[in-house]
Symmetry: C2
Subunit: 153 residues, 2 copies
């Protein structure tokens, strides 16, 4: 079990800023950043409503942008920081993309499939597994989600 | 447990034709069709290599195109025919898109998460579940996969 590095914390701050951009568009505030070492490959946020795309979660948008950035689908050696625990689609996308490390903020009791309702990123039968660091800046993430849903009630 | 309808079989034939188009591009031959009643909303195939996109599995490409076609991310009342059992990413995408029915061809022992390594489309704790019809025209699907990998050895 490792801890988040200083780089991970910096990337999570960028992911939180991306989540704020989502909220300003009326999207559930979830952000993600793909990075390799200290280099940011992609910053993205949830765009499901804006794009009318059921797959446009922050992680999928970030993975697609990062793959475009490096010119191939394999994201070996990359990490991703996400403000919310990935759902099954996003956890599976991280495995498919061969991402090396997942750093996430708050657990998702409804759809989280990395620790809460499943452990898809560490499944021994899949062809790839990720190192997972959970609970990083979780309070900052959950505050954004609470404020968003409070404002919409 | 229901059987595939005549429409399902016709859609699976279209999915198999899409899989053939994938093979002709050097992509693993997997195809998918999203439909509502008798109406085809999207036909797609695996584009992972061509697009250098780790998320460009047939199902995700088809869901995105179908959502674009109907102008919203919810695909209530839609079915999808896929030649191979969906992986965790694709099974999760079907749940996220609220697809009503999944009709698939051959089981995937490596990454299949609908019946083989998990049951993500029928998970009672998620906010949506699909009706699943497995093994539809499975032999036609597996023949294409075998021919593709044989030719590449």
């Amino acid at each position: 079990m490792s801890d988040a590095t200083a780089t991970d914390l910096r990337m999570m701050e960028l992911a939180l800023t991306a989540a704020d951009r989502a909220a300003s568009l009326g999207e559930v505030p979830i952000g993600a950043v793909v990075y390799r070492g200290d280099e940011v490959l992609a910053e993205a946020h949830n765009l499901r409503e804006t794009e009318a795309d059921p797959t446009a979660h922050a992680e999928v948008v970030a993975l697609r942008a990062a793959a475009k950035c490096v010119g191939r689908w394999r994201l070996d050696g990359c990490s991703i920081a996400v403000t919310l625990e990935p759902c099954p689609m996003c956890a599976g996308a991280l495995v498919n993309a061969r991402v090396e490390r997942l750093v996430y903020g708050v657990d998702d009791p409804k759809m989280g499939c990395v620790r809460t309702l499943g452990r898809l990123c560490e499944e021994p039968r899949f062809n790839h597994r990720l190192e997972v660091i959970a609970g990083v800046m979780a309070e900052a993430s959950v505050e954004r989600l609470r404020a968003f849903f409070r404002a919409r009630r």
